[in-house]
């Protein structure tokens, strides 16, 4: 940056930006929340007798949560840049270097650090935490469903666990690729020194931390007893925990929009010299498609929750039929976000495996153009299919047929992704590693998830299947069987670049087989009970569903064991794994050309690119 006048740089240790970190943020957030809560308790008028809905408690809760959010973001230092700018003094070079975490060691992971590699690691840690929490809830659910009849959890607690598991896993899977790998790997892969907007990058991460607290807070004031979709009018009669959900979604949606703007700009503007669109790695396409799809989707999610908050706290009736609103409005808003969102999760996973396929088969990616067509086709169509979640809503029976058409059309671009993966494997030389086997696992799981998706997209079949465990099994096959498989493969594949050490081979294999076998056992059992007529989100079921549920529970415990092995693998390999060479997989993308530890701005001299990264295999004589 250019400074016209050399302003005196504040002495080290004095500037406020050097004092702010996670702990000041937590403290300021907690204090603000407490102060606002106390003030609101004091001054907010009591609800008048005889009003239809009591809203004072919701007002107090929401205000406290907003205060937490503002306090936390101020305490972490998110406002320093804008504040200085408004005052006409931009940050000095040294301060920018400080923000980037120059020479700071481990401390930078607890600050508003702008270096994309730090943000990538932060995302990796928080994704792991989210999966750990969400996974623990899955285990509670499966344990509760171990036998017929009511479980040992109170129904309200059970519903809340189901809802929290759902929303945690959705958020975890949304950020699992674009967070850790989109931030750490992507800029290096395109030959950039950092993201286009480094401060927005830090903002996107700390917004997720700020969002997490209201969700956890909500668990102690009634929980999310509505399932992760939080349909109205059930949500408007839900306890105060619902306000935690609303705040969580609003803040998370902002984070997603920020990521979308940042990653898209970075890829469009900052690719290395010579990296034309035809030479840009397919993983980049996947990442951009994912965040670009989230850009229009998440504002709608944000909006849907704002209206929900209004209904709860201010007594408006957007979703209340008695006051002229409609629950169908909420359903529409929710699924206009909700269907693109599943492709936000899936596309980067498939793209990451496409990136690995040439490396582990030692041959070029088959049909790069078809891969892009597939990604583009899915992205485009995914905006037009939302009402297939509402076939049985009764909202507009005449629209069922058109939505059935758009939904089934998605099978064509999805088929293209299969073609690219299978075509790349065909006659390749298989280098048997966990990421390679993940491609086969994805093909298997995604095939089952995709074909069952066709059954569900068919309106008459959906009249039987909708709302049953069959749906639950179907989307676990796509989001977990396909999506998460790609993310775990990415972890093992990019682990050497992110940590400087190889991921323990044996542990990666053990966890791979445990997770994949456990997964298929668990969800085949769930398909069975769904077909036999067990509804979703029930805490008690008839004895006829015993076998299938038992199978699912056994499978779930196997997944848990496999995941713990993986976690052990991450920790042990990170601490004392084999030191990785610069390019352990002998891949041709740019991220493998930088040494470890990666210097602050990645490249001394920015690279130039003269071919795509898939030039494996001997050319024809």
């Amino acid at each position: 940056m250019t400074t016209l006048i050399n302003k005196p740089v504040s002495a080290p240790g004095k500037s406020i930006i050097e004092r702010l970190n996670l702990f000041t943020a937590l403290a300021l957030g907690a204090i603000s929340a407490f102060v606002v809560w106390r003030l609101a308790l004091q001054f907010l008028p009591q609800d008048a007798d005889g009003v239809r809905i009591l809203t004072r408690e919701d007002k107090i809760t929401l205000l406290s949560m907003i205060a937490w959010f503002v306090g936390f973001m101020t305490g972490i230092g998110a406002l320093i840049g804008p504040f200085r700018w408004v005052m006409g003094k931009d940050l000095s070079h040294d301060e920018n270097m400080f923000l980037a975490g120059k020479d700071m060691g481990a401390k930078r992971y607890f600050r508003y650090t702008t270096d994309h590699k730090v943000v990538g690691i932060q995302y990796l840690v928080i994704t792991t935490l989210i999966f750990f929490l969400g996974g623990s809830m899955a285990m509670l659910i499966r344990t509760n469903l171990g036998h017929a009849g009511g479980g040992w959890l109170h129904p309200q607690a059970y519903n809340s666990i189901v809802g929290t598991h759902g929303i945690l896993m959705i958020v975890g899977t949304i950020i699992m690729i674009t967070g850790p790998f989109g931030n750490f790997i992507m800029p290096i892969m395109i030959g950039a020194r950092d993201m286009a907007f480094p401060r927005l990058n830090a903002l996107s991460f700390w917004l997720i931390v700020a969002a997490a607290v209201p969700l956890i807070w909500g668990q102690f004031i009634g929980g999310i007893s509505t399932g992760w979709v939080a349909y109205n009018p059930l949500a408007s009669q839900a306890p105060l925990g619902m306000d935690g959900y609303i705040m969580f979604i609003c803040i998370f949606a902002i984070s997603t929009m920020v990521v979308g703007a940042n990653i898209t700009t970075t890829v469009v503007r900052m690719r290395a010299k010579g990296m034309t669109w035809n030479r840009t790695p397919i993983f980049i396409y996947g990442t951009v498609a994912s965040v670009a799809l989230a850009l229009p989707a998440f504002p709608v999610f944000f909006l849907s929750q704002i209206l929900s908050a209004f209904d709860r706290a201010l007594g408006t009736t957007f979703y209340n039929t008695a006051g002229g609103g409609s629950g169908w409005l909420y359903e529409n808003l929710f699924w206009i976000m909700g269907h693109p969102e599943v492709y936000v999760i899936l596309i980067p996973s498939v793209a990451a495996l496409m990136e690995m396929a040439p490396v582990f088969t030692r041959r070029p990616l088959f049909s790069f153009n078809v891969a892009i067509m597939g990604i583009a086709g899915i992205s485009g169509l995914s905006a037009l299919v939302w009402a297939h979640h509402m076939y049985m809503a009764g909202w507009a029976p005449l629209l069922n047929a058109p939505f059935m058409i758009t939904t089934e059309l998605i099978s064509i671009p999805t088929g293209m992704l299969f073609l690219v993966l299978v075509g790349t494997l065909w006659r390749g030389r298989l280098w048997m590693t966990m990421p390679l086997m993940s491609i086969f696992a994805l093909l298997w799981n995604f095939m089952i998830g995709g074909v069952t998706g066709i059954y569900l997209s068919d309106v008459p079949a959906d009249a039987f299947l909708h709302g049953s465990m069959y749906v639950t099994a179907h989307f676990h096959y796509t989001l977990m069987g396909a999506g998460l498989t790609g993310a775990l493969a990415s972890l093992v594949y990019w682990f050497p670049k992110m940590t400087g050490r190889m991921f323990d081979k044996k542990l990666s294999w053990i966890s791979f087989w445990m997770v994949q076998i456990g997964f298929n056992v668990a969800f085949i059992g769930m398909f069975m009970v769904g077909l036999a007529g067990q509804p979703r989100r029930v805490e008690a079921y008839a004895p006829t569903f015993n076998t299938g549920n038992l199978v699912t529970t056994i499978g779930a415990y196997t997944i848990m064991a496999g995941m713990l092995v993986l976690l052990h693998g991450v920790i042990s390999s990170w601490r004392n794994g084999v030191i990785a060479p610069m390019n352990p997989w002998q891949a041709k993308t740019l991220e493998w050309t930088v040494p470890f530890p990666i210097p602050l701005e990645n490249f001394d001299v920015l690279p130039t690119v003269s071919s795509d990264p898939y030039g494996y295999g001997k050319a024809k004589p």
Partner: protein
């Protein structure tokens, strides 16, 4: 694989790995089709209406339509996995060809997936058309269904009310479904029909039960604490039994 460098390259369909894949394709398709259909049909409830029977039939058709595609992917994966795996810390030699694209393969793949997609659509549309016309049947028995946390109430044309549904066999029925509090979903499991119950709106669905017996009604939309217990039964009886029940129920209702 090894014959690529022979002076005269055989036509592609004569290459050993293609032949192997072709055989595997047939086997995989058959296995996936039979296992898939058996899994679905055996797991599913026995149908108590033509609607449900046609749902089971659709699953059968879709599974067989998907089987060749899944079978091809499986066959190619097996062929690849059984020829030349490489273990070790260093990559294997690079593949001995550099095929980056095959327009013919892509065209064939997209055409076939397009045709299969169209087929699934047409089959689905035919059934959908039939199901949606059933709702318009004016001569059908009309039953009003009201969901509330956490019971179902049924109102019949002659003023009878009940919390267990009674229907005569082989007579078309139209349900007018609504709710008094939150959203529920009215699902007669063995008859393969479902429609949400929304407060303030009436939604409709129709069915013709074709078996005498007792079947399950479950709520299929999370509706609060006791959602799991929001279940009841439908008793499908002969016309005579139905008339008798209806009359006695209406009399009880009138007295109350």
């Amino acid at each position: 694989m090894s014959d690529v460098m022979t002076p005269k390259t055989p036509q592609w369909w004569k290459k050993p790995d293609v032949k192997k894949t072709a055989i595997l394709w047939v086997i995989c398709t058959a296995v996936i089709g039979f296992v898939g259909v058996a899994f679905h049909v055996r797991s599913m409830v026995r149908p108590a209406s033509e609607t449900m029977a046609s749902v089971i039939n659709l699953m059968r058709i879709f599974t067989w339509a998907a089987a060749p595609v899944a079978g091809l992917v499986a066959a190619m994966c097996i062929t690849v996995l059984t020829s030349g795996r490489h273990y070790g810390n260093n990559p294997p030699a690079e593949a001995d060809h550099e095929i980056r694209n095959s327009p013919r393969t892509v065209a064939a793949w997209v055409t076939i997936s397009g045709i299969l997609c169209l087929f699934a659509l047409v089959v689905g549309m035919i059934v959908l058309q039939k199901d949606s016309q059933a709702v318009l049947d004016k001569s059908a028995i009309q039953v009003n269904v009201t969901g509330q946390q956490w019971v179902w109430n049924f109102d019949y044309a002659n003023g009878a009310r009940s919390q267990d549904l009674y229907l005569p066999v082989n007579k078309p029925v139209v349900f007018h479904v609504t709710s008094v509090d939150v959203m529920h979903s009215f699902w007669i499991v063995q008859m393969g029909i479902k429609i949400n119950a929304n407060p303030g709106y009436i939604t409709e669905t129709a069915v013709t039960p074709d078996k005498i017996g007792v079947f399950d009604i479950r709520c299929a939309e999370l509706c609060g604490i006791l959602h799991s217990y929001m279940q009841t039964k439908v008793h499908v009886v002969s016309q005579a039994d139905y008339d008798a029940w209806l009359a006695s129920q209406a009399a009880t209702e009138a007295k109350a």
